[in-house]
């Protein structure tokens, strides 16, 4: 366990966009999170990591107020979980973009319609929808495939559609729950680079993964979770940065893993 971890939330200032203060969450009798505290500042890129069941997805659900803490307080863009009027949740969600491992696209609608859908349901006028969809599809490099259906795209392309849909409403926060989980290393690198680009443009990105290779490539803040507790919250500096070819590192890690699995058989 890391001993120099910083578990106390920093002071709330005008740049704090998300704040967890001694937050606990239990599903029925099972604890998902125990007294978790951290702050996220506007425009930050943060990675949540840890094994499956460590509490990464629970933190993302709490941020989107899809779940409410059983103890402590979550504050997102000034809205406090304990005082949250449920009718205001849709307003909060319009400032948050979501990306998931399984893409969650509408299979019967084209790329363009999938992205436009996010604007349609919040009442953006048609003309502006067309402009925004064109802008964001160009950003993710899929304008040329806008008329295709999701099943006519590769996994990486489908994830880029999901990112375009998450970004079309210009959210302040982008939550990415294992967005590279279903992708090969090279495509995963592309997706992470895309997230970096949106972060460079000012969107706060919170990215969850259990893949150590991806975490190692981060020159950013990484929170490590285990059994619903934060065991490390550090700014990673100088280990690697995103100029390092993540795909190569992941490819090599895959080979090593395969080799170590095969070794006993040869022995």
């Amino acid at each position: 366990m890391n001993t120099d971890m910083n578990l106390a939330p920093g002071p709330l200032d005008s740049r704090t966009i998300i704040s967890f203060n001694r937050v606990s969450l239990a599903y029925k009798d099972q604890d998902a999170l125990s007294e978790v505290s951290f702050n996220v500042t506007n425009g930050e890129f943060m990675c949540l990591t840890g094994p499956s069941g460590a509490g990464k997805s629970s933190i993302l659900r709490l941020i989107s107020m899809d779940a409410f803490p059983t103890g402590g307080q979550v504050r997102v863009r000034g809205m406090m979980s304990s005082k949250m009027n449920r009718r205001k949740i849709p307003q909060l969600r319009r400032e948050i973009g979501f990306v998931f491992q399984d893409f969650r696209l509408l299979e019967d609608r084209s790329v363009e319609d999938n992205v436009a859908f996010a604007q349609l349901v919040v009442g953006v006028p048609h003309k502006r929808i067309a402009e925004n969809v064109s802008r964001v599809l160009n950003n993710v490099g899929l304008w040329g495939k806008r008329h295709r259906l999701p099943h006519q795209l590769s996994g990486g392309e489908q994830q880029r559609v999901a990112i375009a849909r998450a970004m079309v409403n210009s959210p302040k926060i982008l939550l990415a729950d294992e967005p590279t989980g279903n992708l090969d290393p090279r495509t995963a690198q592309d997706i992470i680079n895309l997230l970096f680009r949106f972060n460079d443009a000012g969107t706060c990105v919170i990215f969850s993964t259990h893949d150590h290779e991806i975490v190692k490539s981060f020159g950013r803040r990484v929170i490590v979770l285990e059994d619903g507790r934060i065991v490390s919250d550090k700014q990673r500096q100088g280990i690697v940065d995103r100029s390092v070819n993540l795909a190569d590192r992941m490819y090599r890690a895959d080979l090593d893993a395969a080799a170590s699995r095969e070794e006993p058989a040869h022995a």
């Binding site: 979501f98 969650r104 349901v121």
Partner: protein, 295 residues
């Protein structure tokens, strides 16, 4: 307030379920239309029975026969007391001579038999007509009791006992209709609710994404509620259509029966739309509750 793009989306989505599940929706409308036809037939039968009863009741009157020897003056003294009885609209004096004349008219060609009589055997009487509220068994009983108190009164005849029987049967029929109607009503809500649940289940991803991107619950619900209402509208129209066709085929056998007025038909279809709405609401409410429980 909805934007134009939202309104267009909701309108499209309200009909989308019909396109995606033609067979299920068709069967639902057929089942619901048949159930509602039963409801419509029962309603129509009840209405006709009520009409019949009302017509019969409007003919309810009482004949207050007076003692022999009561002359016009005594009768004139009694008249205001009879009119004062609650429920009595009018008390028309019928002298013994008028009664005989009336009887003569009734007998027609056989009236010659009256010539054999030495004197007029018919007593003088008052013909009481009743207010609409008093045209029922209870009120008639009270009026009879009240009128009988006067010494000039010899006998009171209420010669429409068959109305009592009709009234009892109408009441029984109305109760049975109400019970069957209630069952059909609940069954229709249940059928629509289940169809909308299918739509909801097949739209689970759509709903999930709508929630993620910040659609309000009201916005998410609207197309499903509209779908239920449209199903109700179609099923109600089907029931009314089948009823009209039935009337047309059986019009010779059903002479005298009163069909629904256009306003009643419109009201029935509106009721069916409400049923559809209620069914969808029940399905949606359960679904959204489930969502928040798992959230």
């Amino acid at each position: 307030m909805l934007s134009r793009s939202q309104a267009g989306y909701l309108a499209r989505e309200s009909f989308a379920g019909f396109g995606r599940r033609k067979l299920t929706t068709g069967v639902t409308i057929l089942i619901m239309g048949s159930s509602l036809l039963v409801l419509a037939v029962l309603t129509l039968a009840t209405l006709n029975l009520s009409n019949l009863l009302e017509t019969a009741r409007s003919g309810i009157d009482l004949r207050v026969f007076l003692e022999d020897g009561i002359g016009r003056e005594d009768a004139a003294e009694l008249q205001p007391h009879l009119v004062a009885i609650p429920g009595v609209e009018q008390a028309v004096w019928i002298s013994a001579e008028d009664a005989l004349e009336e009887f003569r008219t009734t007998l027609g060609e056989d009236a010659a038999v009256l010539e054999m009589l030495d004197s007029n055997p018919l007593p003088a009487s008052f013909h009481l007509t009743l207010t609409p509220e008093a045209r029922n068994l209870t009120a008639v009983g009270a009026i009879r009791a009240e009128a009988a108190r006067w010494p000039q009164v010899a006998e009171i005849i209420y010669n429409q006992d068959w109305i009592d029987v009709l009234e009892r049967w109408t009441f029984r029929f109305q109760m049975v209709s109400l019970a069957v109607g209630l069952v059909v009503f609940l069954a229709a809500i249940f059928v629509i609710s289940n169809t909308v649940k299918l739509t909801i289940a097949s739209s689970a991803r759509l709903i999930q994404i709508q929630k993620l991107v910040g659609a309000t619950n009201a916005f998410i619900r609207t197309p499903f509620l509209c779908e239920g209402m449209i199903q109700g509208l179609l099923a109600g129209s089907l029931a009314m259509g089948l009823l009209a066709v039935g009337f047309w085929f059986l019009k010779e056998n059903l002479e005298g029966l009163v069909p629904f007025t256009p306003a009643q038909m419109g009201g029935f279809v509106l009721l069916c739309m409400f049923l559809g709405l209620a069914g969808s609401w029940a399905a949606m409410r359960k679904y959204l509750t489930l969502q928040s429980e798992t959230a």
